[in-house]
Symmetry: C2
Subunit: 293 residues, 2 copies
Amino acid sequence: MALDLESLRVLSAVVSEGGFAKAAEKLNKTQSAVSYQIQKLEQRLGADLFDRSAYRAELTPVGERILTEGERLLQQAEHVSHLVDQFSAGWEPRLELVVDGMMPSKVLLSVLKEMVNLNIPTHVQLRVEYLGGVQQRFERGDAELMLALAYEPSNRYVVNALKPVETLLVVAADHALARVNNITLDTLQQHVELTVHDSSYLKAHGGWQTFGGERVFYLSDFRAKREALTMGLGYGWMPMTMIQDELDSKQLVELDYQGGSRHQYTPVLINRRDQALGRAGQWLIERLLERFG
Amino acid sequence: MALDLESLRVLSAVVSEGGFAKAAEKLNKTQSAVSYQIQKLEQRLGADLFDRSAYRAELTPVGERILTEGERLLQQAEHVSHLVDQFSAGWEPRLELVVDGMMPSKVLLSVLKEMVNLNIPTHVQLRVEYLGGVQQRFERGDAELMLALAYEPSNRYVVNALKPVETLLVVAADHALARVNNITLDTLQQHVELTVHDSSYLKAHGGWQTFGGERVFYLSDFRAKREALTMGLGYGWMPMTMIQDELDSKQLVELDYQGGSRHQYTPVLINRRDQALGRAGQWLIERLLERFG
DNA sequence: ACACTACATCAAATTTTCTGATGGAGTTAA
DNA sequence: TTAACTCCATCAGAAAATTTGATGTAGTGT
């Protein structure tokens, strides 16, 4: 036989109303129904909750603890019932978001934190992918919102452009390339290039991102790449926002590359045209456009 | 109509067993009883938990959230039932402890922390009083265990002596008294004495603690007293352990008082002989004797 | 001592939950 | 494509849990 909430509600009422009969009135029951529930609870727990030796029933120490724990339980049960009210008020139960790891995470996280502070009931699942991996995950249907840097266009998407993100071609200050001027592609190709592994299977982009040298090291994310760069392992593109400190302290320096050492990505916030976003998704888009856009 | 745990148990079983019929078997019910519970829950929440359009019922997003929240609720309910098992295994539901504020709090707190780490279910209420206030609170019956420095003996007590605590008569290094040698009582009485307010109504002790000068400042606790001492407001007794840093840094210095500038208290751990302690109280005594004793 | 309050107890009424049988719809495999 | 099967809904009646209303015992207060 397992615990049930009704007994706990009765227990709580008895204590707060100060007696069995008064609790009964509050709960729209009779006094004997209250007696019954309390006795049932006592049986289930195998311990007395009230000391009946005196005129009025008094809580035992055990009863006192069960009361406080029980009231917490009731409150949490209340929370669960309340959840669906919020769902029917338009807040989706869950929202999955795929983000390119190159996006500045601070802004995103601060928005998510605001979401928590506002007690928005939606559970947000954040997933970080790289380059093609973002769209791939989105297409697979796991996520309803994606924040990507590059994507294969489709008329099934609703696209919101955000503020461009600047990337720089950098090396460690003590790397050989740091001292060369007007670097050619040939020169670059003689050194190790560092790049973040595209997290899609396809890897169908290529393009200007890599230089096609013989030695390319693939790192798992930008944090690893930044470490490898500062260690002087090679050169590579990095989003400006992630290496501001290293540039300021001159640990990393911008390459003087003929082909250009700066590049701007325009990040986009995409959701499906056919599948309407819930309130949390809309809220998130608004907030991100406001801060990133 | 309010939430009930049975429906949640059924929901959980349906999902974990992968079907209504299998859940029914696990719960020793029939399949129609499972249907009934699920439908009841859906009605109560006012939302579908399963999508029945396909062959097998599939959780809706709302259902998924309710499931996870519900399972948490069940686990907490389990915890409540489990509590009484622990109570009947000898762990008292609550234990109140009165401690003299002069006791080194670190040791005590580390023991309490260990208690939490061991998942001892007893709720400990710690109350700090001073001098006579400790015993008074204990006598009033609120607490079952007291850690006092001085007390009125009684044969109703079980007394455990702990390691003596040393107190010193000190002033700030820049106080006039700091430069006087072989101080007499007269001299002392011309300065401000700092003392902690006895938290009993009675204040029935007096004795060597105060010097009976004209100007005595009463502070609310030893933290305040230490501050007042280091500010040079006056002189007074302090437990050694609380002013080790100030002595080392020479902010505070020991007085050279004729009547002696050191005094040892023997703290005692007392519980009532008639009212047996629960497992937590015994555990606490053992641990405190081990560390303090 | 008298009226009153607090809670327990019991049989009967009522409500909730379960069972067992049935049925429609999708699935599987020959 | 059919036959056998699984999944779940539904319904009436059975069983169980809960509530009621009446009554009883004991303590309170005046």
